[in-house]
């Protein structure tokens, strides 16, 4: 209990309470995350269960009874007769899941390799940075296709739909880690010649302790900038991959897949199929970005 009171009085919390942008963004993210967690309770339909779908319900307008079945959909229905509201809730689940895990994967991989490359130097650095070059060379689309191809060959059919998500995480994460590694290495190169690092070295600190305790906190600022954008970017990268036909399966759509499907109806008047998923994605990505913005400024001791 004391800890909570302490936290409430901390600088960070004070800063938070006094930043309307942070409060609003946090509230939005909080609501969206809650919606995602309780999707099975909130959603009127389970859009991932095909036997409950009725194709005839397709293209129902929001809040208007379907001509044939009389069913009413809050945000309308899509081309397969799925409730758009439900698909958004379930789709956001997949999007968030993919985004968070992909960035975490990229960040851990990138920071580790970047620190090692920058601090250790020599052949280790050469090898890591050249691997990064190779990685950068491949457009993430192609990396995704490669991983998809291999997975399709290896994984039994029944598990493929679940695997598609992990494949996306791997593919997007692999596309992002280089950014972290390059920036961390660049900053490490600068930091490691600073006096405090040399001092730590002189008093006999072990290399990995120096890297984690001393250098890491000082390179976190650019990392946070990238991580912030990366989370939103990862969610969007998934959408882009689905535009090119290698994203989440249409029977278990993510927000990105929903937008890809919806953009086909932009000119035809079924605006709700595109608008609602796009707005949700926009809200999600925007508030994550704003929250990240604030967090960066608040956490940065040099800015206080």
């Amino acid at each position: 209990m004391n800890k909570i009171i302490d936290a409430w009085h901390s600088d960070l919390a004070w800063n938070f309470r006094n930043s309307p942008v942070a409060v609003v963004s946090f509230a939005l993210v909080f609501v969206l995350v809650l919606a995602v967690i309780f999707a099975p309770v909130i959603a009127p339909h389970d859009p991932f269960d095909p036997s409950t779908l009725n194709l005839i319900n397709g293209f129902s307008q929001p809040m208007t009874p379907n001509t044939y079945t009389g069913d009413v959909f809050l945000l309308g229905s899509d081309d397969q007769g799925r409730d758009v509201f439900s698909t958004i809730l379930y789709g956001m689940r997949i999007s968030l899941f993919v985004g968070v895990f992909a960035v975490a994967f990229a960040m851990i991989l990138g920071i580790t390799l970047g620190l090692i490359a920058g601090y250790v130097g020599g052949w280790t650095e050469t090898i890591i940075m050249r691997i990064a070059d190779v990685q950068l060379t491949f457009p993430s689309i192609l990396v995704a296709m490669l991983i998809f191809g291999i997975v399709k060959g290896v994984i039994p059919v029944e598990h493929r739909d679940q695997m598609a998500i992990w494949v996306l995480i791997l593919a997007i994460g692999l596309g992002e880690w280089v950014q972290f590694a390059r920036v961390v290495r660049g900053a490490t190169l600068v930091e490691k010649n600073r006096e405090y690092v040399q001092a730590a070295r002189l008093i006999g600190r072990v290399r990995w302790v120096i890297m984690i305790r001393h250098i890491l906190p000082n390179v976190l600022s650019p990392v946070l900038v990238i991580a912030t954008i990366s989370l939103a970017l990862a969610i969007i990268a998934e959408a882009t991959l689905s535009f090119l036909g290698v994203g989440a399966p249409p029977t278990q759509p993510s927000l990105g897949t929903l937008i890809r499907i919806g953009q086909g109806f932009l000119f035809s008047g079924e605006w709700w199929i595109l608008l609602f998923p796009a707005l949700t994605l926009l809200t999600l990505a925007l508030s994550v970005n704003m929250l990240g913005d604030w967090l960066r400024d608040a956490l940065n001791p040099k800015l206080r």
């Binding site: 194709l55 397969q80 059919v157």
Partner: protein, 526 residues
């Protein structure tokens, strides 16, 4: 070089007088023609583009009717049933001014029969082509071939001397490491001559005033620009904003928008293409299901139950927005052998279907992977998605695996798929073509697209007899017998016949070609 100069000269000459009746048609579709070499690629958009510039002996008009092109008459020889005699049109000029005669036909057909040609299979029954005189050509087949002229509508004729001069005697050779001149240049007898070509960007053609049919066809388009635009939304935007005059593939959901727009129209017709699902019914066990030791598709009751569970009208109404014709048979309606009673569409009957499933021992259903292309047929992926829902109602859990066509087709042709979507057109307008590829047991010469593992020796023999049966009534009876068997065995699950939608400025006047292959010389302006 000389050819280029001539082209340039005529281009200048033409543009000088063009202001009189200059009507440019900007024509966009999803894909570009792959090459201008007439025998290198047997592919729809490629032949459609080439057809404006080059001509076959026998052509189809915009209604699909066989009409004379470079040949004026054709008949089986009186003396030998294995020979077809073609009388050639006289006074025809190539775009570079050379005269057309039988030498060019013999050269072109032999080129089309060569190893590198994509049309080798279509001409497989041809033994020799010879020219008794300057305007007669004889085609000798290995047996009587009653539908020979139908096989020639895609065999475009090149100028022998031009090909020789430009080192294009051989069909495009990938191994050689060099570009064939004929891949990017063309010299035909067609109504339009090539002005410039940038692959995937733009191909410009101009009316050929020396065309033999200048009096017979409207030929009101004086300049033709062919522009591939891949992304559907961009393509429709280009039509709506007036940047192009004519697009060939209007997405079904955008039809109303185009119809409502001022000065734009959509015209439609049934396409020569039927969409259906194939099932592996021959193997003793399936790789892609969850049933061990047996093959649920091998039981005709399961196939019937699946057929009954498909709500074709709902697919037509919702997925296709009315732009399809629900099908009961895997044969397009205008093809010889099609009869209405074969193409009856059943209403879905879930109860009976469930009973059939139970009878077959699958009361609890099973799971199976459905392989589906996502860039080949109109709304292919959405149709497959709808199938997932419909088959779920009789307990079949479908794992949908949709992918680009470059991955889809190898999968089904390497017999790695047990349940797949396929679309089929019949360019010869005769059932035999469909049987050869889709019904006959898979083997060297036949059944190359029959990936159902269905094999019925009696039917195979019946199919093989069609090629040389010249008594038409006997042949028709065989065709009917084969179709009845196919229907009885539920060899495939037909879904629908595709409908073509062409979007164009209201001023453009044309009917829609069932093969989706516009022949611009028939176009006129209102």
């Amino acid at each position: 070089m000389k050819f280029k100069e001539t082209l340039l000269a005529t281009a200048i000459l033409f543009s000088a007088g063009a202001s009189v009746s200059a009507e440019t048609l900007k024509w966009a579709r999803a894909g570009d023609g792959l090459t201008l070499d007439p025998h290198a690629q047997n592919e729809g958009p490629t032949i459609t583009l080439q057809r404006q510039i080059m001509e076959p002996l026998v052509a189809r008009d915009m209604r699909g009717v066989l009409v004379p092109a470079l040949a004026t008459e054709w008949d089986p020889s009186d003396k030998d049933p294995n020979v077809w005699v073609f009388k050639l049109r006289q006074g025809v000029k190539f775009h570079d001014g050379a005269d057309f005669d039988s030498e060019d036909v013999v050269f072109s057909l032999k080129r089309a029969m060569s190893d590198e040609s994509n049309y080798r299979e279509v001409l497989a029954s041809v033994v020799d082509v010879r020219a008794p005189d300057k305007f007669t050509v004889e085609i000798i087949t290995d047996g009587p071939n009653p539908i020979m002229p139908n096989n020639l509508t895609n065999m475009l004729i090149m100028d022998k001397d031009w090909a020789t001069a430009n080192d294009a005697i051989k069909v495009q050779d990938y191994e050689g490491g060099q570009s064939t001149y004929a891949a990017k240049n063309a010299n035909g007898t067609g109504a339009y001559k090539l002005i410039s070509r940038e692959p995937d960007v733009k191909t410009v053609m101009e009316r050929f005033d020396g065309y033999w049919g200048v009096e017979q066809f409207p030929m009101e388009v004086s300049r033709l620009e062919y522009i591939p635009i891949q992304n559907a939304a961009t393509r429709i935007a280009a039509l709506l904003s007036g940047e192009v005059d004519f697009i060939q593939d209007v997405p079904v959901q955008d039809i109303d928008r185009v119809v409502d727009a001022d000065g734009l129209d959509v015209r439609r017709t049934s396409q020569n293409r039927v969409i259906f699902l194939g099932m592996n019914q021959g193997d003793t066990d399936l790789k892609n299901d969850n049933v061990d030791g047996k093959n649920p598709f091998a039981d005709v009751r399961v196939r019937r139950a699946m057929n009954m569970s498909i709500n074709r009208l709902a697919i037509q109404e919702v997925v296709m927005r009315g732009q399809s014709e629900p099908a009961g048979i895997i044969l397009p309606p205008f093809v010889h052998g099609w009869v209405p009673e074969l193409d009856v569409v059943q209403d879905p009957d879930i109860e009976t279907a469930k009973a059939l499933m139970a009878e077959a021992g699958y009361a609890d259903g099973f799971s199976i992977k459905l392989d589906c292309p996502n860039d080949r047929y109109i709304n292919d992926e959405a149709i497959c998605q709808a199938m997932v829902g419909m088959l779920a109602q009789i307990g079949i859990k479908v794992n949908l695996d949709s992918k680009p066509k470059a991955q889809h087709f190898p999968l089904i042709n390497n017999l790695e798929s047990d349940f797949y979507m396929l679309g089929w057109g019949v360019p010869t307008y005769d059932s035999e073509y469909a049987f050869n590829f889709l019904v006959h047991s898979k083997g060297e010469a036949y059944g190359s697209w029959n990936n159902t593992r269905y094999s019925n020796p009696e039917i195979d023999a019946e199919i093989e007899s069609l090629a040389s049966e010249i008594r038409l009534d006997v042949r028709d009876a065989s065709i009917r017998k084969i179709w009845d068997q196919v229907q009885e065995d539920v060899l495939y699950l037909p879904i629908h016949h595709q409908v073509l939608n062409w979007g164009m400025k209201s001023g453009v006047d044309t009917i829609v070609d069932p093969e989706d292959s516009p022949k611009i010389k028939y176009f006129s302006f209102k």
